[in-house]
Symmetry: C2
Amino acid sequence: MAPPDNRYDIVIVGAGPVGILLSLCLSRWGYKVKHIDNRPVPTATGRADGIQPRSIEILRNLGLKRALMACEPAKVFDVAFWDPLPGGKGIHRTGNWPSCPRFIDTRYPFTALVHQGKIEKMFLDEIEKAGTHIQRPWTIVDFNNTGKDETYPVEVSLKCLDTNVIENVRAKYLFSGEGARSFVRQKLGIEMTYKDQISFVWGVMDGVVRTNFPDIQTKCTIHSDSGSIMVIPREDNMVRLYVQIASSTDPDWSPRKTATAEEVQEVAKKILQPYSIEWDRVEWYSVYPIGQGISEKYTLDHRVFMGGDACHTHSPKAGQGMNTAFHDALNFAWKLHAVESGFARRSILESYETERKQIAENLLSFDNKYASLFSKRPPTAEEVGNARSSAVNAEEDDFVKTFKSSCEFTSGYGVAYEPNLFNWSPSHPATSPLFSIDGVKLTPGRVFTPSSVTRLSDANFVHLEQEVPANGSFRIFVFAGSPVKNKKAIEDFALNLEKEKSFLSVYRRLDINNVSYFERHNPHSKLFTISVIFAADKNAVDIQSLPQIIKDYHHHIYADDIPDVRVPNAKFSAHEKLGFDPEQGGVVVVRPDSHVACTVQLVEGSGTVDALNAYFGSFSTSQLGQTSPSHL
Amino acid sequence: MAPPDNRYDIVIVGAGPVGILLSLCLSRWGYKVKHIDNRPVPTATGRADGIQPRSIEILRNLGLKRALMACEPAKVFDVAFWDPLPGGKGIHRTGNWPSCPRFIDTRYPFTALVHQGKIEKMFLDEIEKAGTHIQRPWTIVDFNNTGKDETYPVEVSLKCLDTNVIENVRAKYLFSGEGARSFVRQKLGIEMTYKDQISFVWGVMDGVVRTNFPDIQTKCTIHSDSGSIMVIPREDNMVRLYVQIASSTDPDWSPRKTATAEEVQEVAKKILQPYSIEWDRVEWYSVYPIGQGISEKYTLDHRVFMGGDACHTHSPKAGQGMNTAFHDALNFAWKLHAVESGFARRSILESYETERKQIAENLLSFDNKYASLFSKRPPTAEEVGNARSSAVNAEEDDFVKTFKSSCEFTSGYGVAYEPNLFNWSPSHPATSPLFSIDGVKLTPGRVFTPSSVTRLSDANFVHLEQEVPANGSFRIFVFAGSPVKNKKAIEDFALNLEKEKSFLSVYRRLDINNVSYFERHNPHSKLFTISVIFAADKNAVDIQSLPQIIKDYHHHIYADDIPDVRVPNAKFSAHEKLGFDPEQGGVVVVRPDSHVACTVQLVEGSGTVDALNAYFGSFSTSQLGQTSPSHL
């Protein structure tokens, strides 16, 4: 057995997007992390991905949005389509549409384009602050889940590539964020499966150009008689061009086919005719083969896990790599935390693979549909217009449906987890007539919708969905409706929260008597933050008269009194936009990754807290509530 | 005569708020700046001021807002009033109101509170980047406007306080940002005059407190039987308390009266009863006497100028010091630039004193009215409600009028310069029936209203009022109305801009043939940026068909197609909010400091450009337009 100081909560291999987000969360949440990467230094250039709207929300929830925006990323709000003119006369614009149309309710309706090295750097700075140092260049040479040590069952051998020194450590978990050529995946004997048997060779070039092509600052898909190109604007006057060099459908296909930078520039010049293009300089150029594959499993034993490119590879033009990796890491981080904090049963770790693999499959199959759909024709202005009006409409045609899904897909808001223990549905083991509220436009498994409210402690206008940082806590939003009408319902809610067997009491902090005066989010339990939003003007809420257990969350009491352009005639915009009756209100449970878990009616009596006890009791280690949950 | 390398465009004395903003502008705009400060190091602690909403706009226009927000300032959205309960039972809240109510159209409806040292640091970093190094500890020992050298008439003697070495330099201008005890002002023999003969001694304390006082995170004015206090939230859980220790109206008045930190804490404890307060630590404590004075002149010779606290001192509770200094500096910077770039006649420098001194006088007289008004009673909820509806309303009562003015005053939007050569009025020398547009809600001399539009070059949603950075250029916003209806008007506008005697042609860049491909703002003249906003959906504007001179501003062509919560039913929000007919449009000239200069109707023929030529010709060094401006 390794000496005690060689024992870690987790060993993370790889400091790409999935590894750094996981490392940051777990380091901040108090875990002992061993994190290695086989590259001597972080990414220096190239390899940018677009940061999708939903990923920007995630970065903000981690406190990284300001650092992202300080990189002055190019912002892509729009995609333009260019197609051949008849008679070999070059290309013309045939359409364009917003990359994140208004039917998607986001604060960031754009993709931010920025050099991956800068994104990595902002994570690395924060990981260091959280006490974890990434060791480079180190690689993993062996691992085994021996089970000899019940608490630290995984033995891992790591090697320093500078000195060849081997270090053996024990860990509760091993996580591979190694990328497509994962040693961990190979040793586990897990196969990649391919949704589509077609592989590609892509050329990608970043540079500063001079051109009279009018859409050079816009994302463009250009089809011409001389080939196809994708244009992506970048920071610092740069432009990225993606050129498909070979496809396994070509008669002379070889995954080793290549092209020089000059050859790609010549192709680009031909494709862009009648417009001209010249390069001031080329910043980065690379050619690489890629297939669209998914790992059959993300784990075998729920101790050794994988995420990011180790589990799924995509064509670069889908712009998914970094975003999917972020979602993988956040999904895994909070579930590991739920188990290791003693809250959730170990079996919930299974949902990491079921949730994330399903999304990877959706993305890959969508990527293909998307490509074939728009190689036929872009949507018309009318179709885009129709798509604006609502997110779901039974009568819309297939084309509009596919267009909408494609927007959700490229914005990151298409991540919709299926019903399971975390995402309530009528088949969930927790049963109560209060689950699900008619008219509420929040779907379990989908991300919580943004809304703006006034925080009463300091009268600040705030973004409700960002009020609890990514700290592993479930967020319980009590849309309290009318403070007068619901006075008793709120008192009963508080009374039942205080009962010995409530989720809040059973998972009370052990250090509750020493909780800091300045604690904002977790006065009672590190697993939950309660927020209360009144459908009232700021001055109509009397905080002093609220029950003490609610007052303990005094940084999370809000008035729903800020106008919202999406519901211009609403008096209580947040309630009304989300579909809550501004008299009745209702409760939303949001997972630590900002996805909706369930909605529960707010009623007088014990029913509301009973339903929450049943929901949390369906996966908690201890029994909750006064009666046994039905599934035990 | 000093050797050539001892000649500067300007010597700036003092690196407080007025000095650093002026230094940053002039250094960036290419001037040779000598900048000294007599303190060995920048401000380390204390001395914060609130950054007003309008000042946040200014910082953003200088590219400093992100750095400001990275300081995580406390944000004050609201002011609460506490008054004594009858019978010595302590205090109770009697009212509160937004510090920047919705009738003020700003993106930043809050005051940001942050340690002055942090604000200075972000300026100092940028000043260094712009090539100016602030020398410390240096002081000014003498100066004379000898006039011996026509170009560099001012001789200045500076002394290093470490070595006692004297350096003599020549400068075009000398600027004193020395603060209240200005050597320059004393040597010029300029008196301070006092609006109100009352002086005060204030105690101010920053610290981390524990209290059950519910409004500790809100700005509060507290009157009690034991005295008065002002509470200002700060960053990092800190709170600032202002306590008035003495007033010249006291029977035992002495400007040297003082109090220890412990004494102030005891007073605070008594005032806050029945609430309790304890200090974890005190970060900074100071006692200082202050009077409300204004310098009689800001300059005598239009070569030696003063600004900031050298010209006006206020009570700290008005929170004006840093904000007024910023406005002083920006006002002076662009006028100096207009003269030194050869554009404006030297006499325009007179308007620095007339504009800024008037504002200082308004502020001081307002400060007194404000204090006396609200010591009587805070406004009622109904009065605040009434004040929301509109900015100007003849029927409202005096109380509401004063309340509104007080909000404008504390937000920085009360800066309304009087008509003069820059701020068009019917008595302006430039005459044309096209000046001033019925219904347009923009007032010459007041700041330009924010609006959101889509930038066509990259489809980004942008803040129109921030699209041209603070670079000394006038901003000409052409609200182009309907692209179809106004096609000829835009073509005629372009045609007349191209004429030999137009403002744009006469002040053409000398380096116009070498202007960078990547130049965003000043393709023709460093003095003007033209922006064109169409009342149309993004896809309805065909940029290719616009006149070339407009296309040269391709980063400044916009579609007015973003909804605005202030005009929820408008189709073209920016046009309609500002009061432009969405068919007709109209032109707004905005000064380099973001204040409106004039509005001109957009018509077919030469009239629109003729009016602009007449406007600019009223202060330009060269004659503009085809006919002589009427005043020559």
